[in-house]
Subunit: 704 residues, 2 copies
C-alpha cells in the first residue's frame, strides 16, 4: 500500500515539471509587434472555440450527470459514479486546455527563437509539447490517485471493509472502471469537434486560397488563415491530449479491475499505478536528451527526439522489471514481459507508420509517382497504400496480445492472462509523457512557420521553422501509430473488464447470467457485425461534416475576396474572426450526431441483444476500428508527404500537373488523418466505457 503513494508523487512531479516548463517558455520573447498580433489572434480564436465547446459539452455533461444520478438511485451504479464522471471529463478537458494554452503561447516564441537559431527553436517547441504530455499524465494519474484513496477511505473507514478483504479492491476497481466514461466523452467531443474545425479551415483555406486565388499557404490575405492556425491547436493539440488522456486512464483502471479478477488484489493494482509513476519519471529524464546543434539537418533533429523517447523506454524497461518482481514476485515475472511487449509494440507500430508515410521510404515515393497519371491514380494508390499498411500493425498487436496473455500465465489462468493484456497497454502508454511531447510539438512548429510567413520574417527563419515542421510530420505519424495501437490494446482490456464487471454485477444481485460470448452465438455474431459497421458509419458522418463545414468556409472566403476592397492588394485586412466563428459553429453542430451514436449504440444493442451482443459489438468495433484508423492515418499521412515530396522539387515540383494531383490526394487525406481516423480511437474506447457504466441497467432490462 505504501508503494502506491508513488502514483500521487509521480503525478505531482509531472505537474510541477510542466509548471516549470511553462515558466521557462513564457519567459521567452514573442518577437515583433506583428508576430505578437498574429499570435494573439490565434490565441483568441482558440480560446473562443474552447469556450464554446466547453459550454456545449457542459450541457451534455449536465444531462449525463442527471441520467447517471437516476441510475444510481435505481441501484444500477454507486453514487460515486456521477461525480467521477464529472472529474474525468473535467481533468480530460483541463489537460487539453492547458496544453493548448501553452501551444498558442509558444508559437510566436518558437518563431522568434528560430531567428537566432535552430536549437533554441527546437527547445521551445519541444518544451511546450512536453507540457502537454506531462499535464496529461499528471492529471490522469492525479484523478486515478484521488479516487483510489477516496474509495479506499470510504470502503475501509465508512463501510468498515477490512483492507485484507478482496471485496474491498473489487469495490474500488469496479467503481474506478466507470470513471473513464467522463474522460472518453470529453475526448470524443474534443477529437471530433477539433478535427472538424481544423480540417474545415484547412480544406476551405486551400480550396479558395491556393487553388482559386493562387496565393501561397499561410498568406495573410487569406481570411481563413487564422482559422487554419487555430485548427492546428484545437484539433492536433487539445484533441490529441484528450484522446491520450482517456487511453491512459482507461488502461490503468481496466488493468486494476482485471488484477482483482485475476485474484492478484492490491499487488496487481500497484503495478499499473506505479508503472505510470515510473513512466512520468522516465519521461522527465527523457526531455533532457532532446537537444541539437545549430547546423542540424532533419535527421539530426529526428535523432534528438528519438533519443528522448528511446531513452525513456529503456529506463522504463529496466525499472519495471524490479517493480514487477517487487510487487508480484518472481513467480509472476511473466507480467514484465507483457509490459515489454506493449513497449516494443508501441515503438514498432510507430516505426511502421513512419515507414509508410515518410517520403524517405519507398511507399510514399512510389505514391508520389502515381501523380503522373493524374488525381485518380494517386487516390487509388493512397487508398491501397493505407489498406496495405494495416497488415503489419495488426500482426504486431496480435503478437503483443498473445505474448502478454501467455507470458502472464494465461495458459493456466484465463483472468491472469487478460490482466497481462491490460498491463501491456499500460506498458505501451508508460512513455506517454514524452511521446505526446514529440507529437504536440508538431502543431507548434507548424504554427511558428505560419507566423514567420505572415509576419514576413527573413527566409532563413522560415527555413528553420520548416525543418522543425517537417520533422513534426514524422513524429506526428509515429504519435498517431502510438495512439491507435494503445487504443486497440486499451479497448481489448476494457472489453475483458466489461465481461468481468458483468459477472460481478450478476453475482452481487444473484442474477442468472447467460454469458455466452462464443462467436457462433447469434447475438454475439450480430453484435460483431453491428460493431464492425460503426467505425464506417462514424467515419462517414465525420467526413461529411468536414465537407459541409469546409463548404461554409469556401463561401465566406469567396465573399470576403469579393466584398473587401483592397484585400488582395494587401491594403485592407481580412475578417479572420468570421472564419473562426464559422468553423466553431460548424464543429459544435456537427459533433453532436457522431457523439450520440457512440453513446446510444451500446445501450440500444444491449437492450436488444443483451450483454453477449454488447461484447460482440465491442469486439467488432475494436477490430474494424483499429484497421480503419491505421488505414486512414497512413493513407492521409502518405498523401500529405507525397505532396511535400513533389513540392520539394521532385516529379515536376510546385505548380506542375503532378503537384495538382497530389494536392487532391492531400485534401482527401486531411479528414482521413486528422478527423475521422483519430476519432475512431476514441469511439472504440467510449463504446466500452458506456457499456460498462450501463452494464447493470442493461442486465436488468435487455430482451435477450
Amino acid at each position: 500500500m505504501a508503494t502506491l503513494v508513488l502514483a500521487p508523487i509521480g503525478s505531482i512531479a509531472a505537474l510541477l515539471f510542466a509548471f516549470f516548463l511553462i515558466k521557462s517558455v513564457m519567459k521567452q520573447d514573442e518577437g515583433t509587434d506583428e508576430m505578437k498580433k498574429i499570435s494573439l489572434a490565434v490565441r483568441k480564436g482558440a480560446n473562443a472555440y474552447l469556450k464554446r465547446q466547453y459550454t456545449g459539452v457542459g450541457l451534455f455533461f449536465a444531462v449525463m450527470f442527471v441520467i447517471l444520478l437516476i441510475l444510481a438511485f435505481a441501484g444500477h451504479l454507486t453514487f460515486f459514479v456521477p461525480f467521477a464522471f464529472l472529474t474525468g471529463g473535467f481533468f480530460s478537458g483541463l489537460s487539453g486546455f492547458i496544453g493548448m494554452r501553452v501551444a498558442t503561447n509558444a508559437n510566436a516564441r518558437t518563431a522568434n527563437a528560430c531567428r537566432s537559431g535552430l536549437n533554441k527553436g527546437l527547445r521551445i517547441a519541444f518544451n511546450s509539447g512536453a507540457v502537454m504530455g506531462l499535464v496529461v499524465v499528471g492529471l490522469g494519474l492525479l484523478d486515478v490517485s484521488i479516487w483510489f484513496y477516496l474509495l479506499y477511505w470510504f470502503y475501509t473507514s465508512v463501510q468498515g471493509i477490512s483492507p485484507t478483504d478482496p471485496v474491498l479492491y473489487q469495490n474500488i476497481t469496479s467503481a474506478m472502471l466507470t470513471f473513464g466514461m467522463g474522460a472518453s466523452s470529453m475526448a470524443l467531443f474534443a477529437r471530433v469537434g477539433g478535427g472538424i474545425f481544423t480540417k474545415a479551415a484547412d480544406v476551405g483555406a486551400d480550396l479558395v486560397g491556393k487553388v482559386e486565388a493562387g496565393i501561397p499557404e499561410d498568406d495573410p490575405r487569406n481570411p481563413a488563415v487564422i482559422a487554419d492556425n487555430v485548427g492546428d491547436n484545437v484539433g492536433d493539440v487539445a484533441g490529441m491530449g484528450a484522446d491520450l488522456y482517456e487511453s491512459y486512464v482507461g488502461s490503468i483502471v481496466s488493468s486494476s479491475a482485471l488484477a482483482v479478477a485475476a485474484g492478484l488484489g492490491l499487488q496487481g493494482i500497484i503495478v499499473p499505478m506505479t508503472m505510470a509513476a515510473v513512466g512520468v519519471l522516465a519521461s522527465i529524464i527523457g526531455t533532457f536528451f532532446v537537444r541539437s546543434g545549430e547546423q542540424a539537418t532533419q535527421s539530426v533533429l529526428l535523432k534528438a527526439l528519438r533519443r528522448g523517447t528511446y531513452g525513456s523506454s529503456i529506463i522504463i524497461a529496466v525499472i519495471s522489471f524490479f517493480l514487477v518482481r517487487y510487487a508480484l514476485g518472481m513467480e509472476r515475472i511473466g507480467v514484465y514481459f507483457a509490459i515489454l511487449a506493449g513497449l516494443v509494440a508501441g515503438n514498432l507500430i510507430g516505426f511502421c507508420t513512419e515507414y509508410f508515410t515518410s517520403d524517405t521510404y519507398p511507399p510514399t515515393q512510389n505514391l508520389a509517382k502515381t501523380s503522373e497519371t493524374g488525381p485518380a491514380t494517386i487516390i487509388i494508390g493512397g487508398l491501397s497504400l493505407g489498406m496495405l499498411s494495416t497488415a503489419i500493425p495488426v500482426l504486431i498487436v496480435a503478437v503483443a496480445v498473445l505474448v502478454s496473455f501467455f507470458a502472464s500465465g494465461g495458459g493456466a489462468s484465463f483472468e491472469t492472462g487478460l490482466y497481462g493484456v491490460a498491463i501491456s497497454a499500460v506498458g505501451m502508454l508508460s512513455t506517454l509523457g514524452i511521446t505526446l511531447a514529440t507529437d504536440a510539438y508538431g502543431p507548434i512548429a507548424d504554427n511558428a512557420g505560419g507566423i514567420a510567413e505572415m509576419a514576413h520574417l527573413p527566409e532563413e527563419v522560415r527555413e528553420r521553422t520548416d525543418a522543425l515542421d517537417s520533422l513534426g510530420n514524422t513524429t506526428a505519424a509515429t504519435g498517431k501509430g502510438f495512439a491507435i495501437g494503445s487504443a486497440a490494446l486499451t479497448a481489448l482490456a476494457l472489453i475483458a473488464a466489461y465481461s468481468d464487471e458483468i459477472k460481478n454485477i450478476a453475482a452481487k444481485n444473484n442474477m442468472v447470467l447467460d454469458l455466452n460470448t462464443s462467436i457462433l452465438n447469434p447475438p454475439v455474431l450480430v453484435g460483431l457485425f453491428i460493431g464492425g459497421m460503426l467505425p464506417f458509419l462514424f467515419s462517414a458522418l465525420t467526413m461529411q461534416a468536414v465537407g459541409r463545414a469546409a463548404q461554409g468556409i469556401v463561401m465566406e472566403v469567396r465573399r470576403q475576396f469579393r466584398e473587401i476592397k483592397g484585400l488582395m492588394e494587401g491594403t485592407a485586412e481580412a475578417d479572420y474572426a468570421t472564419c473562426v466563428d464559422i468553423c466553431t459553429k460548424a464543429a459544435q453542430k456537427e459533433m453532436i450526431l457522431p457523439a450520440l451514436i457512440a453513446i446510444i449504440a451500446p445501450i440500444v444493442v444491449g437492450l436488444i441483444l443483451g450483454v453477449n451482443g454488447v461484447v460482440g459489438m465491442l469486439a467488432g468495433a475494436a477490430v474494424t476500428g483499429f484497421v480503419m484508423a491505421v488505414m486512414m492515418a497512413n493513407a492521409g499521412g502518405a498523401w500529405d508527404n507525397a505532396k511535400k515530396h513533389i513540392e520539394a522539387g521532385n516529379l515536376g515540383g510546385k505548380g506542375s500537373d503532378q503537384h495538382k494531383a497530389a494536392v487532391v490526394g492531400d485534401t482527401v487525406g486531411d479528414p482521413f488523418k486528422d478527423t475521422s481516423g483519430p476519432s475512431i480511437n476514441i469511439l472504440i474506447k467510449l463504446l466500452s466505457m458506456v457499456s460498462i457504466v450501463f452494464a447493470s441497467f442493461i442486465l436488468s432490462n435487455s430482451i435477450f
Copy 2:
C-alpha cells in the same frame, strides 16, 4: 428420399431451358459485316483470355489435387475430396465459360435487334443473361446431386451403412462440405483475374483515350476498346457467374451439414436441395414476365425486370411453405420464416444498393453536386457515401440472422438455429436463376452499345442500347447487393459448419477438443483481428494490380497512337489484340498473390492459433469483408452514376470541370466496384472452405 429426385430434375430443367434459350438467341441475326467483325474480335479476345486463365488455373488445380491426395493418404480427408474439388472447380469454370460464350455471341445480336425495336433488344439481352443464371443454378445443383447420390450409394451399398443410421448423413454431408473449395478457388481466380482485366482495360482506355486524346468512349480508334469490351464479359459475366455458383453450392452444402448437426437428418437435407429445385422452376417462370412495349421508358423496362424477380420470389415464398411443412412438419414450420427472412433480406439489400447508387435518388444526386468544388470533394463524398451505406445492409443481415435463428428454434436448440441461418442463405439465393439473369444482362447491353458505336449504327439504335445499358447499371447494383448479402450469410453458415465439422473430426479420432470460441479467448481475438485485416490487405493488392495493369495499357495505347500512322485519322486500324494480350498477361500474373493469401492464411493461422483462432479469423473476415464489399460496391456505383448524371446534361454536362471531377471519381470507383469489392465476397467464403478442407490437418498439427 424420393423427394430428393426433384434436385436433379430441377437441374436438368434449368440446363434444358438454358439450351433452348441459347438456340433462340443464336437464331438471331448478327447484323452488318462490321458488327460481325467487332463481335468476333471481342469473342476471340474473351476466349483467348479464358483459355489462358484455365491453363494457369489448371496448374493450380493440379497442385492442389496432389496436396489433397496427400492429405487423403494421411487420413485427413476421404478420397472423394480431391475429385470433388476438381468437379467443383470444373463446373464453376464451365458455368462461367458458357455464360460468357452466350454473352459474347449475344452482344451484336442485341445491337442488331435494337435496330428494329427496344423490346426485341431487351428480350435477346435478357435471355442471354438468363442462360448464365440458369447454367449456374443448373450445374450447381447437378454437381451437388451427383455427389449426393454417389456418396449415398457408396456409404449404403459399399460400406453397408443403414439408410436410417444418422451416421450415413453425417458422412455424406461432411464429404460434400469440402467440395465447395474447388468452386471457391475457381471463383476467386475468375473474379480477381477478370476484375483486374476489365478494370485495367477500362481505366487504361479512358486515361489515354478520353482524357489525353479526347476521343469518345467506345471509339474504334482507341486500341484498348476491344479489350474494354472483352473485360465486360470476362469480369462481369464469367467472374460474377463463378462467384454466385460458389455461394449457391456453399449455401446448400453448409445447410445440409448443419441439418445433420441439428439432428434433422435426411429431412433437413431435403429442404435446401428441393428449395433450390423450386427456385429453378420459379426462375424459369419468372423469365416469361420480362417483356416491354416498344416505346418503353427506363422505368417501364425496370418494371419489366422487376416483374421477373418479384414474380419468382412470390412463387418461391408460396411453394416453400408447403415444402417445409411436408419435409419437416408443422412443428418446425419456423424454418419457413428463415427462408422468408433470406428472401426478403436479399431484396431489401438490393433495393438499398439501388437507393445509394442510382441517380434517381438523393445520395447520388448530392454526390454529383460535390463535383462543383473539384475532384477532392467528390472523392471524399463518394467514400463517405459508401461508408454510410453500410449501415442498413448490416442491420438487414443482422435482423435476418436473428429471425432465422430464433424462428427455426435456436432458443431451444443451438444447432437448429444455425441450420435456420444457413437455410436463410438458401432462401436468399433461391431466386438466383433470375436475379443473375438481370445482372448478366447488363454487360451484354453494354457491349451492344459499344458495337453500335463502333459499327456507326444510327443514333436511335445507340439510344435504345443506352436505355438498356443504363438499366443494366441499376440491375447490376441490385445484383451486387444480392451477391454481397448472400456471401455474408453463406460465410456465416460455413463458419457454423466448420465448427461442427471440427467437433465431428475430434469425436471420430477421439481427440480432446478445446473448442473455446469466446471472443475473449486471445487466439479467437487475435484471429478476429487478423481476419478483419485480410479484406483490407486483399483489396490493397487487387487495387494495386489494377493500377499496374492499367499503366501497361496506357503505355501501349500511347505507343500505338504514336507509331501507327493514320490511326487517329481513321485510315489505319489499331492493334487491338496486343491490348487484350497485355490485360490477359497482367491479370494472370497479378491474381496469384491475392489467391495465395486466401489459401495460405487459414492454414498458417490454424497452425499457429489453432481452430479457435481460425473461427476468429473467419468471423473477422466475414464482418469487415461484408462491410468493405458494400462500401466499395456502393461508392463505385454512386461515382459511376454521378458521372452519368452529369453527362446527361446536369451541373454543366459533358466537358465541364464538374464532369472532369466526376471522371476522377468514376475511375477510382472502377476497381472498387468491379475488382476489389466483388473479390472480397469470394475471399470470405474461400477462407471458410479452405479451413474446412484442412480442418483435420490443423487439428493434428496446430501449436495451440
